[in-house]
Amino acid sequence: MSKEKQSGKEKQDISRRQFLSYSIMGVGGFMAAATVMPMLRMAIDPVLKAEASGDFIATNVKVDEITTEPQRVDFNFEQKDGWYESTVTQTAWVYKDENGEIVALSPICKHLGCTVSWNSSDNYPDKFYCPCHKGVYDKDGTNVPGTPPRGPLDRYQYQINDGVLYLSRRASEVGGE
């Protein structure tokens, strides 16, 4: 601000009309914000809500029953979808790899979400196969290039308690693209 312009002079620069129009804009802006803000906050609530606890779910599989051959494991949990509660069943393909590490793959195809299964096509023995558009995955879930899927199968996290396999509710994406 230059020296000539002193605060006293500036005050006089605001006319009654300007003052009123600023006031109306302020009040109007406040009213508009107070009206719209609650609605927007309500609409975006799902994005901001903390995720439900990621606890693990017991399966009916004992760890020493798991072989190197993928087996289908179904497990249930109570799901809350807003006001709607239901029991949902998740499926995993579970096996031990060469190092004895447990692998639990999601059966949801990474192309368009059909259900893949192990060794289900005579043309693709010892592969995960998706019947919808002939998607093929290796045993470790890696998608076979040249088939439709866009990435490897998702994996469940697991825990072992008292020799029983526990799996996470949701499978998560493998690695970053």
Binding site: P46, W83, Y84
Partner: protein, 224 residues
Amino acid sequence: MLNKVYDWIDERLDITPLWRDLADHEVPEHVNPAHHFSAFVYCFGGLTFFVVVIQVLSGMFLTMYYVPDIVNAWESVYYLQNEVAFGQIVRGMHHWGASIVIVMMFLHTLRVFFQGAYKKPRELNWIVGVLIFMVMLALGLTGYLLPWDMKALFATKVTLDIAQSTPLIGDMLKTLIAGDQHIIGAETLTRFFAIHVFFLPAALLLLIGLHFIMIRKQGISGPL
């Protein structure tokens, strides 16, 4: 009798100029199929609007029976289609209209494109037209989930996968549209319903209003 009523109102409110200004315009010769049959290409805009009116009306009547609830949505559609007199017709209007409106809009866009009618001074109306195009696609997309059958569910899964593959904000975007991070369910259906039945039609009517005001101001583009 009706004339008298009209005159009585007109005397007080002078309504004649209102509708004259809207309706009393000569159709230019070059857009009149009665003069040059090839001018039928000018009809597609009007036909698009006609189908939009059918969509809005049939949609309003469908909501008298439809419930956006995952337990009952499918049953309510089944009921209105099979048990309600003319329910099949009204749903049929909405179902087929949803595709026809896209076809008409596309033909209209082709006409405007190949005639170069989007050029100065009509650039703004092209932009509004593109916005209408997007709103219309979004209406088709959100409406598709509402019957809550297998096709609806899996189509929406694919849609949400596409949204989720957006760089950086994909996960947030998906949650915002679906109403839940993982589940396509109760909250997804209510959201899609609200968007389909309130938000998008409001946006559509606003944009169509702008579209028509601009046409009125600028007139239809001249003969080629």
